[in-house]
Symmetry: C2
Subunit: 336 residues, 2 copies
DNA sequence: TGGGCTTGCGCAATCGATTCCGCTATGATA
DNA sequence: TATCATAGCGGAATCGATTGCGCAAGCCCA
């Protein structure tokens, strides 16, 4: 009867009359081990159901072989999709993923970052709400690479990121509205403190200016990317004397709220007011009317973020910071 | 100039002329340390930005202080919400969360389980697709507790779980349809190999039988919880000579597909056919018509699963297996 | 046959923290 | 004043794996 509950490398070594180093090398494939002993080791491992202790391995290697992902809201399908893409790539490369949800709370983000640093993550994918300068500095010092997604903060140095061209995205979408002959176009923006919110607003602004189309301030509302703020913004827009022909809404959740407000007034989309929006591939198509959107390739964002991160962790680290900008995908719905 | 890139416990100890043991005790609060040195240590820690190495700590404590969560599809808002609840509780208790997405693939589930065991997770929350008997056995041997959610497998022993009463849920929903005078009620089930799919079907069956209402086989279709299968199931139902008055659909994603099929035929919900369904709190309300559903309290499922797990990991472990069954929440929409 | 090279493997240090054990100094008690 | 308990702290083993170094045996070729 063995007195250990779990089988250790040492147990395998003893059973075979080998040293721990040989067993280790046989399993990792590094170093020189004869084919015969390699087979012996593999058999013993299988027989005893040996599972290597990654904690011990990580300690020795000074690397947790895991990547941390912090998002603001995992129930937002955009982030869930990012996560899916990142997790797939990480898993393929033998990295596990530590997840945290900051809930848009800078304090929680900071706490999560601290926890992940303690866990010795190899790298981080971060959708920041901006508010952990200390931790970010520590990451730099310790050489823990970070890839930023979604909200690109204003740091004093270049950094890796994956994002969609939000400016272009909003610009093109607004141009499409203009091309359909619309000129009275309102907008519900996201938080202008976040790059995704700001750039979409700027794209709209530029398109309107280039078209010589005045921006009517009562049709400009700021939301927070949540359903309720879309509802509130649209409600107050509809309370104006004049209402717009079309409204550009900075994400789909707010579009849902806005559409509800329109319905409650007894109006229809797009008969009385057209709606265009931004978001993730999956969520459209569930709605009726289906919303005309600039979709963000969320899974691809996650995938590429993980790839960049893993490149940084292995030898093929590029010299400079990588700022990958993906193109949005235009999906025509029936909401315009 | 210090030659170490990161500050270690030893560095703090040397700086203060203390032993590592004392510093460790000062930080952990265990053992006897004078108030004076405790303060000294805390200051030094703050000054040097010391971050304890959880890997080393975990190795010594033989516990990774993390919980693994494996779900079948993280972009499904039900699982995303479960994750959110579980992650919150875990984080509060100082546990980090390792996430994996099995994509309904038993092989991936097995690989994920193996990886998590290697990482020495303290416990697991598992929405299994059923297919890792070896790993489950190993968890038992190693004393890694598991809380099952969503799909409750048929193991030969009692285990902890958190679920909703799917049978009751479907039974009540069907009864409500019957009470509204409907008798020609069809059903689109989930996979009958999964408990959630099976029990919802059984609840429907029982309600129909008790009401003396015949089940018309062409109105019984099996789907796989995805949009497309709902579309296909409803399409083939609508191709029958006779169509049902109402259809009970085993989850919301399939309901989306079904509604699209109905619309494409030029019919309306609920004028021509009523729809009721099951799912998560958040997703309803986005749809039009809003679907009448039995909602699963997903965040609560995650939260309770994590609580049970952490109870098992601490002293207040209950003697017997905990099978917590939550009640669904009825939400009336306009789809019936 | 002997020098050099390769192969296969073991020894022991090491990663960074925790923790058992025991030592010293201090204060209390008889 | 002698004894003893205890608070505060240090020494060293330990967790389970990895890895640099070195040794011995076997091989090749001169």
């Amino acid at each position: 009867m063995n007195e250990h509950r779990v089988v250790r490398l040492k147990d395998i070594a003893q059973e075979l009359g080998l040293s721990e180093s040989t067993v280790s090398r046989a399993l990792s494939g590094t170093g020189r081990v004869s084919e015969a002993t390699r087979l012996l080791v593999q058999q013993a491992v299988k027989k005893r159901d040996y599972t290597p202790n990654d904690i011990a391995r990580s300690l020795r290697r000074r690397d947790g072989r895991s990547i941390g992902i912090i998002v603001t809201d995992i129930t937002n399908i955009f982030f869930a999709s990012v996560l899916k893409g990142a997790q797939m790539v990480a898993h393929e490369q033998g990295y596990s993923t530590l997840l945290s949800n900051s809930d848009e709370d800078p304090a929680l983000e900071t706490a999560s970052l601290r926890l992940m640093l303690q866990k010795q993550v190899s790298g981080l994918i971060l959708a920041t709400v901006g508010g952990s300068p200390n931790q970010l500095a520590q990451c730099r010092r310790q050489g823990v690479p970070i890839v930023f997604i979604d909200n690109l903060p204003n740091l004093g140095y270049p950094y890796d990121s994956v994002s969609v061209d939000n400016h272009k995205s909003a610009y093109l979408l607004t141009c499409k509205l203009l091309k359909r002959g619309m000129r009275r176009i309102g907008v519900i923006t996201g938080p202008l403190g976040q790059s995704s919110g700001l750039h979409r607003w700027e794209g709209y602004e530029r398109a309107m200016q280039e078209a010589g189309c005045p921006i009517y301030r009562p049709w400009v509302k700021q939301g927070d990317f949540r359903v309720e703020s879309g509802y509130a913004a649209m409600s107050s827009m509809l309370a104006q004397q004049e209402t717009p022909q079309a409204v550009l809404i900075a994400n789909n959740y707010m579009a849902f709220g806005a559409i509800r407000a329109i319905r409650e007034r007894g109006w229809q989309v797009p008969r009385d007011i057209a709606i265009v929006s931004f978001d993730t591939e999956d969520i459209s198509g569930l709605m009726h009317p289906s919303i005309t959107t600039m979709n963000q390739p969320a899974v691809e964002i996650g995938r590429q973020a993980a790839e960049i991160l893993i490149d940084r962790l292995t030898d093929n680290a590029p010299e400079d910071a990588v700022a990958r900008v993906l193109d949005p995908i235009f999906v025509e719905g029936t909401s315009w």
